[in-house]
Structure formats: structure tokens, C-alpha cells
Amino acid sequence: MGRDDWFEKQIDELYPRLHRSMKAYLAGSGVEAEDILQETFLKAYKNIDQFEGNANMYTWLYSIARNKCIDEFRKRKYESNRSSIPVEEYNIESDEFKSKDQQEDTELLKEAISELPELLRSIVVMKSIDGLTYPEISDVTGVNEQTLKNRMFRARKQLADILKKMGVNQS
């Protein structure tokens, strides 16, 4: 299998998972996950020589995607406007089996995550939504595991505070 064929296979395998993670990370920002992923894969292809064979392709792509997002946030001065995004803009996958209350809670939960500052939100998405391990998150962010856990503490504490203010049932 040639290099291009191998890379195209990686796109097929990793795109859906990375798309979910970026969708969660970018919720309410107005930045499209598809655009970020297009740029991410092209950049990865251009710099494929920098990828070490025994490294984790997913975390390598993830770190490229995250840097792209941060650049985009800076461009759009996203952080200053983020809190003004209305709840209706958080698209919820329709789930026939969820009650209306549950759907509203899901919507608010997504909004609460997006209210977190980037530094904390990225860890919550990577750990709690994408299921990355702390060593993998460490690969992506370049931050040691102990610091990551302390940040995760702050993130979950803030998330609990935001949900409390929103009046979401926590059980």
C-alpha cells in the first residue's frame, strides 16, 4: 500500500470520530467542524514526514485540529462573543426516545460545556466525550497528566456551577 492509499484509509477511519469531537468542541462558536477537518487533513498530509510511525495518528491529527480551532477563535475574537450565542443555536440530534425535558437538559448541557473557557473545554471534550486517556490528552496538549487532572477538576467544578445556574437536574 502506497503512502497516499494509507493516508486515505486513515481519513475514512478517523474522520467520523474526529468530527464528533470537533462538533462538541466547536458547539456554538459558529466555526464549522467540516472546515476545520478539511484543513487538518490537508495539513497533516503536507507534514506527514513529521509523523512518527509508532505515534498515535488520532492524537496527532487532534492536536493539528485543535490548533486550527484556536487560530480560528483568535481570528473571530470568539472568546469575547461566545456568551451571547442563544441556546437555539446548539443543534441537538433528534432522539425519539428522549423526553422533552431530557432533550432540553441535553441542549443545556451542550451549552454549559461551550461556556467553559477553551483551556478547560478542550479537556472535557477530549476526556468525557471523546474518551481519550490522560496520556493521550497529554500528547495532544503537551501538558503533563497531573496538571491535566487539576485542570479537569476546575473544569468539572465550573461545569457543575454553570448547570446549577441553568437549573439543570444533576443526578
Binding site: D4, L42, L109, K149, D161
Partner: protein, 150 residues
Amino acid sequence: MKREELERLIIDASDGVLSSKQIQKLEVELQNHPDLLEDYRAIMNLPDLTNLYQIDSKLSQHKSSIRSIKQGIRDLSGPGESFEMVTLDWFRRYALAASIAIFAITSVFSMVQSQDTETDSELIAEEYFYPADENTTDSYVLYLEEMAEE
């Protein structure tokens, strides 16, 4: 136990990696830190986020995005592709240049044609006003023959 260490243990507990014995020990320790105990309770009561966003497992939903990425990669990797792709790529790149060239060539061609037509019509008009005298030509030929005889 240091505060930061307790925070990490709270996270371990919420990630479900502590045994019940370790959790008991942590809760006893937290009695000395009422604010952390409150945070611990709030964190442990957070809803599960695992299924908040679903993976769109059907590749068809991402098909066009993936196709577009792959096309971008092929554009980057340059030649060495199928004839159709190369033709299509060249057509896209040079379509404007080609249409300008075709327009210029047809314009030049039509101008040349119109110039030829103009010359013909000028000649016709000239012949109309100044009809060619066949006698003049005949007498000139006779004059030349006479010259040759002399």
C-alpha cells in the same frame, strides 16, 4: 494531603478508577476540607457526557467532506493521475484562458474575413464606375508585338 493532590483524587473518583476503599478514605480526608467536599459532591453528581454527541457511524453522512479532502490531497500530490482527472483539472485551471483564446482567435478570423469582403466590394465598385476597357489591352498587346518585330 495537599489540596492539589485531593483535587486529582476527586477526578480519579469521578472517572471511576478508585476502589470503594479508596473512595471511603478520600471522603474521610475531605471532612477536613469542607469546600472541597462540596465540590466533590457537585462533581460526582454531574451527568454522564459520554453519549452527549453521537458518532455519525454511517460514512455516507461524511461522504462529501471526505471526498473533498481526498480531492485536495490529489491536487497537492500533483500529476500521476488518471487521464480524465488530469483533463478535468486542466480544464478547470485553464478554462478562462482557453475561452479568452478562442474568443480572440474567432475575432481575428472574422476581422480578416470582413477585410477581404471589403476589398472585394471596393473592386466591384471601382469596376462599376471605371469599367475596364478591353480595347486598351488589345492595342497594348499589338504595340508590344510591333516593337518585337522592329
